[in-house]
Amino acid sequence: IEASAKTVSPYSTDEKLTDYKDITTYCNFYEFGTGKEDPAKNAHTLVTSPWDVIVEGECEKPGKYNLEDLLKPVSVEERIYRFRCVEGWSMVIPWMGFPLADLIKRMQPTSKAKYVYFETLHDPKQMPGQRRAVLDWPYVEGLRMDEAMNPLTLMGTGIYGKDLLNQNGAPLRLVVPWKYGFKSIKSIAKIRFSETQPVNSWQKANENEYGFFSNVNPDVSHPRWSQRRERRIGEFRKIKTQLFNGYGEQVASLYAGMDLKKNF
């Protein structure tokens, strides 16, 4: 694992990294409270070992997988990605992880598997924020199969060479760098292959503001935030937001012919 972490991924950016302290104290993880500082204070109640991931739906290898078994065959590498929140702030995060495509191939999805659905753990005892119905628990997310198979799409296991902290979505989370942060679901407990498009949690909460795709797009305005600019955490001036968060070269073809304003 260490050896592969030292090679620089061609997908990594060389932009200045956001401080570890900021990454681990400024989080949106409503399962531990709706304030940005809440997750860092409250997430200690989450038990991440042992951890099981249920795989189900349209695949040949459904079942309940222990996390260690799930991680055994993969090689974890470092990927430095831009991370853009829908709220108009962004970070540069050195993730540790492996391509989601590796995991999907092992589960051998059938021809009916058009989408991948993800679910966060649902346990109000471990996640006190779930006692209040701010969102429809458990938190769910989804990707189209081609998005999930894209080499940029990562299963995150760590940050700055260390295991993920609970507030950042330990022990296993999604990282989709060309989409707004809420697509990158944390603390994944279930993965399902499905024929139909899942309705993600934020879409359920307010479908006029949050869509299924939620690709970073400076030209699709939000009723609460202008998306033309963003503030890099740690910097004073704002910078211009790029279409697909600057990953257009890798992902623009996924949306060829689609009206991105309608399919926001």
Binding site: T25, E87, R228, R231
Partner: protein, 197 residues
């Protein structure tokens, strides 16, 4: 209730003045010491907005408290509290214009047009301005009866202020609901007081 003129002007009024300055000092200190978390500029804008709304509600609480404690002196604190509310609202606006938009007026104009919470916030601060301007003794005298009428604008302004916060919140509306309830009590007391006479 009444306290001596000496205590009122030498202790109560200056204490309240100092107390209401504390939030401004807290945020100035926080920026200086970089102790406001990962996104300090947002913390400053939000914090100043919170205090603008809180002090605005405090201004509206003075008449009901005066009636509750039968304490006429309280009314003489209202101008100071009201001007403090304006102080925080203007700082909040300035923070937004600077740290959110770096005075890019085209962006700001789009923001006002496209985002309802910005629209109502702007209307509120514009309406609040003539109240601050006419708060001097000279203006009170010059406007006479019209002054009271003009200053009744504080009722719609405070509603717009709460609405501004409510519409700004992404999902968890607990805080704006608390402000709305307090405002409803403060305005309801006035209605009750008016009609029970």
């Amino acid at each position: 209730m009444k306290i001596s003129e000496n205590k009122f002007s030498r202790i109560l009024r200056p204490s309240l003045f100092a107390l209401l300055l504390l939030p401004a000092i807290y945020y100035a200190w926080g920026v200086w010491q970089d102790s406001l978390g990962a996104n300090p500029l947002e913390a400053v804008i939000r914090g100043l907005g919170d205090w603008g709304l809180r002090v605005l509600l405090l201004t509206l609480a003075i008449s009901p408290l005066r009636r509750l404690f039968n304490w006429p002196q309280l009314l003489r604190l209202r101008r100071m509290v009201g001007l403090y509310a304006y102080f925080y609202v203007v700082l909040h606006l300035f923070g937004y214009l600077w740290f959110d938009h770096f005075f890019d007026w085209e962006e700001i104009w789009f923001d006002i047009l496209e985002r309802p919470f910005i629209t109502v916030g702007m209307v509120a601060v514009i309406l609040l301005t003539p109240l601050a301007v006419t708060s001097t003794n000279g203006m009170i005298k010059r406007l006479g009866k019209k002054w009271k009428k003009l200053h009744m604008l504080i009722y719609p302004i405070s509603m717009l202020g709460v609405l501004h916060f409510w519409w700004m919140v992404k999902l968890d509306i607990t805080e704006p609901v608390i402000y709305a309830v307090i405002l409803a009590i403060l305005l309801g007391e006035r209605l009750f007081n008016k009609f029970s006479k």
